[in-house]
Each structure stands twice: as structure tokens, then as C-alpha cells.
Symmetry: C2
Subunit: 337 residues, 2 copies
DNA sequence: ATGAAAGCGCTAACAT
DNA sequence: ATGTTAGCGCTTTCAT
């Protein structure tokens, strides 16, 4: 556990010069820099984050706040963010809001305030006004991914457009009896499911079709939830839709399994489309709209780095549109007959 | 961003007293403590982790090192650890080794060394000797979950026993043609799959049965991998096993889906048992051996806290056995007459 | 280009 | 029980 002074002694310079040589800040001759670097390597010296953080006010650590961890989407975003942060020399400290309300309060009133992080990435969060206030009071860069955070830079999908694209894909195949499995607006964060549903309804109406209430079913974004919802939608043979648009791939997979359980062929009897490009989408042959969560994590870090080390030449729009892509596999086809 | 001195002034005491009152270390009269706490709350004061860390050498932060993030098991362990750490006032900084070899090297040679963490939890890691050395050189408590980390406190399952229990469950139902889907020893960390396979073989031999090579198939612990392996095992009707023991639930689910694709009934034609109690196990009616990953995360934190604040009365065994539990659902039954 | 010295905000030993 | 004081290890003026 060598300190800066030992490196200085070994390199025959002062601690100040070691600091400059290693951080790249301040002028150091090439020869000195090399000697210092050699000494640091030899001693296995790594700067203490506490000492450096205290002296500079910068910690080289980013807080990532998420509503759950145990969902494919969130871990993929974190994976992308972690890897991008590592490249920039930053650590990632994780705050999971999935626990009790008490835990949640503590995160905002204590953990995020102790100057451990230089910035925070908030993923898919619906924050209370008090929480937003806390974040703003931090006076640190914040970027929101997928959430409608007022006044901070965000990355988001146009969820209404996604709903439209998915529905239009089914319409273009000739489907007219199209059902939708959406989210329970009360359960999910911010109105993402609502937006997707609006997109579905808009596309239906534009095609002269009625997005009937009976063709909608809410679920919880999981495979079992999608299975239950699809079973309801498909159970009545006289009113069976020929296609289902599910607001997430997990629900869409549940729908595929439900169809199979009912003896229906996908896509022969019923087409299914989801949103996500979940890691299992390929396995189930699921047509979907990919949303690249790992890339979202990387992009969030990029925006953050831009806030942390502003480049005056860069334009900095408040919201960045995230990419998506229709991926057609084998779960959608023209309706029979 | 109030500092300790402002709190001291408002409470009419010295900074040292504020520190004592807020940290609980050192004697402070009840009245003073209350005044200090009120002042701190009023000013929204939270101790700076850098300053406190520099002064004490303790950061109240734990590093968690994992091989991947994007798997159900790991995110569940992290979730448990995060919540337990939060309760103890600790942050969790995440190091994902899933990226490039370069990233991995950086984690051990740079990130973990900068004194940002008081301790590390290593989950399911097979470390190189050099990496272990780095960890030891940190001179900080380390606890390993599920990995064979020499010289550090670990939590582990008896994987051979798990393999035996799963196989014995199938044997007790009357199965004799039992296949096994295990891991690829080269791909997976430490010989967990090998241990489970040994347990299977031991149980088979104890029942006077031959665990034939043709009844084994390696896979990658995923649903698609299990599907492929099971398809191979079940495809030949003349040599079809009546039961499959998969070393993970995801592979077991793949096997159930493969059986369905082949027109086989589960458990009528083939019984399937896994290990994990994956979140989807209930949905698929999968019989399994539960291993409670979130609890594992919590237990790891408990062991760590015991290392950080040793209680002389506690016995401290080097390895703690993790709990498991056979959960019988509908994917296993006696073989057809 | 380099060194000396002050100070980042807190804690802990010592003194009272 | 509380205050005073000396660091913790680094960075950053300010000199030279």
C-alpha cells in the first residue's frame, strides 16, 4: 500500500510532481513522467480515492439508481453502463429502489448525499417531487434513461411510435383482429405502457379499425403475466384475435406459450409481436422491436461524461432519442385464409 | 452542502462533538446528541464519505465482483446483498468481470486498489492465482459466495449433494433411465457442474445403475442450451430416458420445452428436475432444488460485517454451508407403467 | 518544469 | 462529556 511520497522518493521528485505526472494535469517533462510512472508501477501505487476525492471534490464514481435489479432490461442497462464507466476510469455504485419505502427514502436522504458520487444515472424512474428536489440539490449531473425527469438530460424511446410500428407491422400483414397486452398503469413506472397503448390505438384507428376494450388486457410485464392475459384473449374461439401485440417481450413469450397451451399455432393461428429484443426472443422466434438496453447504458454514460467534462463544441440537447429496430422473426405472419 | 462546522456552530458545540454524536463513537450526553442531530437534520448535513474515509480508513462501501450481471442468479444475489448493505449503512460498488480480459485486469490492478471499498464480496468467481494475490494484498475482508476461494471465508452449496438429491428424487419415483444435462466444465466457473455430475453418478451407482456417457449432455446453463441438449437426449425413441436432471433451472426449462416440441408429455413421458428455483420454475411447474440467491447475498453481507466488526463470541468457521430445499412441483412423477 | 506549503472535511488521541 | 489539535493522502496554488 505505497503512498504518493514513496513513489516520489523512488522517482526522485516531489509528491506534487507525482500527482501531476499521474493525473496528466499540469506540466511535467516527458522524462520525469516516465520515471514517475515506472516508480508507481514498481510500487503498485494507485491513488487513494478518498484522499483524491477530498482534495478535488471529484470521486470518479457514478451512482446508478434503478427500480429493480432482477429484470432482464435493467441488468442489461447496468451492464452497458458499467462497462462504459470502467473505460472512463469510473466506478459504479448501485442503488436499488426495489426494497421497502424506507430503503428508498434512505437512498435519497442519506446515501446519495454523502458525496460518494460525481453524478447519477436514473434508470426508468418515476420520482416524487421531493426525490427530484433531492437530486437537484446534489448539484451534480443527472441523466435519466427512459424516465420523464424534468429538467435533467434524458434518453428516451418514443413509446407511442413503438406501439404504432408494432401494430402497423401486424396490420401490414393483413391482420385486423389485433389484441394488445399492455401494462397496468398503476403498477409500472411512468406512463410507458400507456404510451405504447396509445400508439396501438392510433394505428388501429388510422386503419379504420376499432381498438375495442375487449381486445385489451393488462399484465405485469412478466412471462406468467403475459400467459394469463393471452389465455383470456385467446380462450373464446368465436372472438379470437389473429394477432397480439404485447408491450414487452416477456409478455409476448407468455402469449406464445399460452397459444401453444391452447393448441394454437404461432403464427398460423395467431401472430405475436413484442418490444425489447429480450435475450430469449430469438429462441422463441419472436418478432419484436429491439431497444438495445446495453447501448442505452453506454449512451447514458456518454451523456454524463459530456456533462462532467463539457466540450463547448458539442451540442447538448436535453433529450436524446434512443434507437429501436423492428426485428422480424417467425412469430408473425399473414393471417390464415 | 453544509459541513460539520456549520452543524457544530448551530448546535453550539465543537466539530469533534458533532462527529461523536453522529457516529455514535465516543461519549456524548443525550441532550447534546439531540441538539446535534436536530442541527444536522435542519441543515441537511450528511458526512462526506471522502473526508470520513480519509480520516478513518473506512469507506462504508463494499465491492461486489461478479462474472456476469445478466443472469437471474447473479442479479438476485446482488439484490440481496444490496439490501443488506443498505441496512448497515454501506454502499455497493459493482465490478462486472463479464467484459473483455482487459477490463478484468483493470478491475484487479486498478479499480479495487484505490481504497474505495472496505471489503469485497466475490460471487461465483474462479480467480487466477495472480488475482487472488491482488485481493489478498488489499488486506481487506473478502467473502466468496459459491466459489472455491482459498484462504477466505466462503459460503457454498454442497453441489455434489445437490446432484445426489435431485437424482435420488427421480430414482425414488421409480426412474432408472435418467439422463443428465450438465455444464461444460471448460466454460463454467470452478467445477460446480462437475460436482453436480458426480452427485448424479454417485446416486446412480448406489442404485446399481450405470450413468452412461450417452445419457449425459453438456450445455451452457441457458434455456436454449437446455433445449438443444434435451432434444439430443430425447430424440431417439429407442433410447429415450424417462427422466432428466438438469444442473440448472434454465436448462431444465429448456428441456421441458424440448419435450413439448417432441410431442412428449411432462411428466407423463419424461420427468424433469432442475436446480435453482428460478423465478420461472413455478410457472413451468418445475420440480427443483431451491438455492435462495437473495438470501445468499444477505448471508455474504452478514459474514462480511462479522469480519469488519468482529464479535469475539461468534464462532467463525471458514466455510458456511448454504441452505437448499427440494421443491416438488408437477414436472416429476413416476414413469409410466 | 518542479517544489513547498496550505488545505480539502473529517476523526481520534489527548487534555481538561 | 467536551474541546483542542494533529493528521489522514492527496491536489493545487504560489513560488522559483
Amino acid at each position: 500500500m505505497a503512498g504518493i511520497h514513496e513513489v516520489a522518493r523512488l522517482a526522485g521528485v516531489s509528491a506534487a510532481t507525482v500527482s501531476r505526472a499521474l493525473s496528466g494535469r499540469g506540466a511535467v517533462s516527458a522524462a520525469t513522467r516516465e520515471r514517475v510512472q515506472a516508480a508507481a508501477t514498481q510500487l503498485g501505487y494507485v491513488v487513494s480515492s478518498s484522499a483524491s476525492g477530498l482534495a478535488t471534490g471529484r470521486t470518479r464514481n457514478v451512482g446508478v439508481v434503478i427500480p429493480f435489479l432482477n429484470r432482464w432490461f435493467y441488468s442489461a442497462v447496468i451492464e452497458g453502463a458499467e462497462s462504459a464507466l470502467l473505460e472512463q476510469g469510473y466506478d459504479l455504485t448501485l442503488y436499488n429502489l426495489g426494497g421497502s419505502a424506507d430503503e428508498r427514502r434512505l437512498v435519497f436522504e442519506h446515501f446519495l448525499l454523502r458525496k460518494r458520487v460525481d453524478a447519477v444515472i436514473a434508470i426508468s424512474l418515476e420520482l416524487t417531487p421531493a426525490e427530484v428536489e433531492r437530486l437537484i440539490a446534489l448539484d451534480k449531473p443527472i441523466v435519466g434513461v427512459g424516465g420523464p425527469l424534468a429538467g435533467v438530460r434524458t434518453l428516451s424511446l418514443d413509446d407511442e411510435q413503438l406501439g404504432r410500428i408494432a401494430t402497423e407491422h401486424l396490420l401490414s400483414l393483413g391482420h385486423t383482429a389485433i389484441a394488445h397486452i399492455g401494462g397496468d398503469a398503476l403498477e409500472m413506472d411512468f406512463h410507458l405502457p400507456t404510451h405504447r397503448r396509445h400508439g396501438y390505438e392510433t394505428a388501429m384507428r388510422a386503419a379504420g379499425l376499432d381498438p375495442a376494450e375487449s381486445r385489451f388486457h393488462a399484465a405485469d410485464f412478466t412471462i406468467p403475466g403475459g400467459h394469463r392475459a393471452a389465455t383470456q384473449l385467446l380462450a373464446d374461439p368465436t372472438a379470437r384475435p389473429t394477432a397480439i401485440f404485447a408491450a414487452s417481450d416477456e409478455m409476448a413469450i407468455g402469449a406464445i406459450l399460452a397459444a401453444r397451451d391452447l393448441g394454437l399455432d404461432v403464427p398460423g393461428d395467431v401472430s405475436v409481436i413484442g418490444i425489447d429484443d429480450h435475450e430469449l426472443a430469438g429462441f422463441f422466434g419472436l418478432t419484436t422491436i429491439a431497444q438495445f438496453p446495453a447501448l442505452q447504458g453506454r449512451m447514458a454514460v456518454q451523456v454524463l461524461m459530456d456533462e462532467l467534462h463539457p466540450d463547448p463544441r458539442t451540442s447538448r440537447s436535453l433529450n436524446t432519442e434512443l434507437p429501436h429496430e423492428l426485428v422480424v422473426r417467425s412469430s408473425t405472419a399473414a393471417p390464415r385464409g
